[in-house]
Symmetry: C2
Subunit: 459 residues, 2 copies
Amino acid sequence: MKKLLLLAFALPSLAFAQPAAADPAALRDAALREDTVAWNILEGLTTEVGQRLAGTEAEARGREWTVRKLTELGFSNVRVEPFDMPVWVRGEERAEIVSPFPQALVVTALGNSGATPARGIEAEVIGFDSVEALEAAPDAAVRGKIVFVTHNMQPNQDGSGYGPFGAPRRTGPTIASRKGAAAIVVRSIGTDHHRNPHTGVQNFAEGVRPIPAGALSIPDAEQLQRILARAGDRPVRMRLTLTPRDIGRRQSGNVIAEVPGSDPSAGVVAIGGHLDSWDLGTGAVDNAAGVAITVAAAHRIMQAGPPRRTIRIVLFGAEEVGVFGGESHFNRHRADGNVVLVGESDFGADRVWRVNFNFAPGNAALADRITALLAPLGIVRGRDRANAGADFGAWATAGVAAVDLNQDGSRYFDYHHTPDDTLDKVDPAQLRQNVAAWTAMLAAAANAPERIEAAAPAR
Amino acid sequence: MKKLLLLAFALPSLAFAQPAAADPAALRDAALREDTVAWNILEGLTTEVGQRLAGTEAEARGREWTVRKLTELGFSNVRVEPFDMPVWVRGEERAEIVSPFPQALVVTALGNSGATPARGIEAEVIGFDSVEALEAAPDAAVRGKIVFVTHNMQPNQDGSGYGPFGAPRRTGPTIASRKGAAAIVVRSIGTDHHRNPHTGVQNFAEGVRPIPAGALSIPDAEQLQRILARAGDRPVRMRLTLTPRDIGRRQSGNVIAEVPGSDPSAGVVAIGGHLDSWDLGTGAVDNAAGVAITVAAAHRIMQAGPPRRTIRIVLFGAEEVGVFGGESHFNRHRADGNVVLVGESDFGADRVWRVNFNFAPGNAALADRITALLAPLGIVRGRDRANAGADFGAWATAGVAAVDLNQDGSRYFDYHHTPDDTLDKVDPAQLRQNVAAWTAMLAAAANAPERIEAAAPAR
């Protein structure tokens, strides 16, 4: 069989469906047993490129590396679709308690944070348990101070803590600035206990003055809570130095590759992940993994012979800092009118545990076939409407069918956006399970004889 | 009972043994159930002082804090015994791969590391799997390069990996310098996978030129191995900046406190931990925990009424950087001739799992009584000769009886000497088990009617 596959690969015009190889279950099981494509991409991208902050030369090296790899793997129409975006880069980052208990704390700047002078600022710290408590405080109590906001996010398999417990990062800086705070530090939006702070994007609301905005590592946030409690009536004073800067508009881009389908009228199945990462780790979990998983699955389908529908891999630039790549891709290609299904892998590399669809009633049988193919991998069918992730989300909202292969998020927020997002956090067996799940879904969807359509959105 | 204990505490001259309270098993069980003294010391010292690098003002604040706390708790003869020592302090620390795969790596300087110029040095990296492989390499292959030495330390309950797998840190820098290396970086001596490097002391052998010597975090060490493997024939070049410096001799000190015994002729039982810590974390596990555990146990014995023997708590300065406090204490007090038993807690805060003795044959019954008191805590008797830890080791070597209450080391080297050595790593229930074990041992030993003597050392 290996010989036949190699032949099919070398001579695409002679390729034909291998009944055994093209069987979705057989492809799935082979991926689970022996996939090495995903690991090789994951290791290569994170080792030979490392971090890939959007709009920087590191992200550009990531695109070059990926174009070379996709070409080597035999994909068609490998290309970069560039776009421009505003770029913010990190500077010095230091926090220390000046009194009453002098000591250094570990801090990192949040995306789009304002800057302190190079020598830092020193001010009294005022602590809040939530953004609601901050919002309720009199402006006079906050003015000129360094606001500290904590939270109690816990790990959940479905990642549902990130929305509500992410508020200190997403809205805290704007609220603090409106109240006249000198700066804000939040407890990192995460679930670990390591001294690696979690960065992440935040955007000051229109007209709000950017103030320095940082995240303390979780042990440091807990330390600051104890310091505030033990200080009693004594003011707790912090010196904070954050010197990020905006460097203007730069180029980013989406990397695209295809497995041409045998039936041009059947439409395109578009899948992928994002190539950019935050700058603190090597972006293994977020999101070289998604790149590796979706490319490996498409590669396996390609090796089995051309699918009915074209499979398009889209590896987005600049997701972390504002989904600029997703927006660019949607605006550029929506009018093409040929994409019938979208799906993104962007929640790490732990096993897929659930599948969700947004299919039209007429596609119930296809959803059932996919669900049945995924069940041997331990995957259950959920009751949520698939949303296709950040980068493809606009497509699903616009009425394109989507499949979400939800990954286990129990430890995702231990590493998310931290220096600790490195290759050693990925379990090779769980990575293969992801490839198997995407392979099975793709084999079913790309070869489905029926039309694929989304359900009308709920009113 | 609480009222009676408070009375005994407030009016020591009226104190008398409470038959129930002084029962070792009852004291042990009360500690296990309800001790709060240890946690309060641990939280207070790590929060109100933080890191306590030997010979610095932070360690001095640690002594002041501890003297105040021991006095508040009602101990007698609370004092500081000062000594001088050479002090090395950390500077800037940065490592980056310049080519072929540019990226930053996380590094920290090892104790007594030499310094690079402020702008750093740039050189080719040469990697070794062990110090033996480094030793065997021709000098010409190493000269002018940055040596990288890795290892494969795994966690063990008894901590036995630290000796053999610590060689890259302890002897690597001297070997590399002798061979003309420009610098050395080692894989951190640890068992975690977080981007927090492990510092630790090393001493260049007499006459060997100090070179910059750092530890990469374990994910970064693994990354460097992959970079070397993927670079193939291309040289891997690193820029390394480490700017520590020696600041001359400064004062450190040991903090001492006592529970006076009822029988001055019965000798002294001396226990403790070390007050200093490395500068990266807050020294919760290493070794505010040992301070907290031994103080809490002695306090519980004190509250039950005076023991037969005086219990002396010694909280050592400057252990991490060369056991200067232990050496000072031994030299100052060995001639007193009254210490009959020593024991140190310096292996974190996880549960005690084993007890070892070095008792003379005539003390077999005492060892059996202690073993029986510890068994309900899940503690087994080992077959090793007790060594009393780094700070009291000289006493055991000199023929004083010792008890080792060995703690579970399975995760100790995840945090040891890293920024991650913080309060959140301590499990309050396991901390209480430690206090219970020390309380039981102290109750038995301090009140033992027999003389306590060490076995003659093995020849």
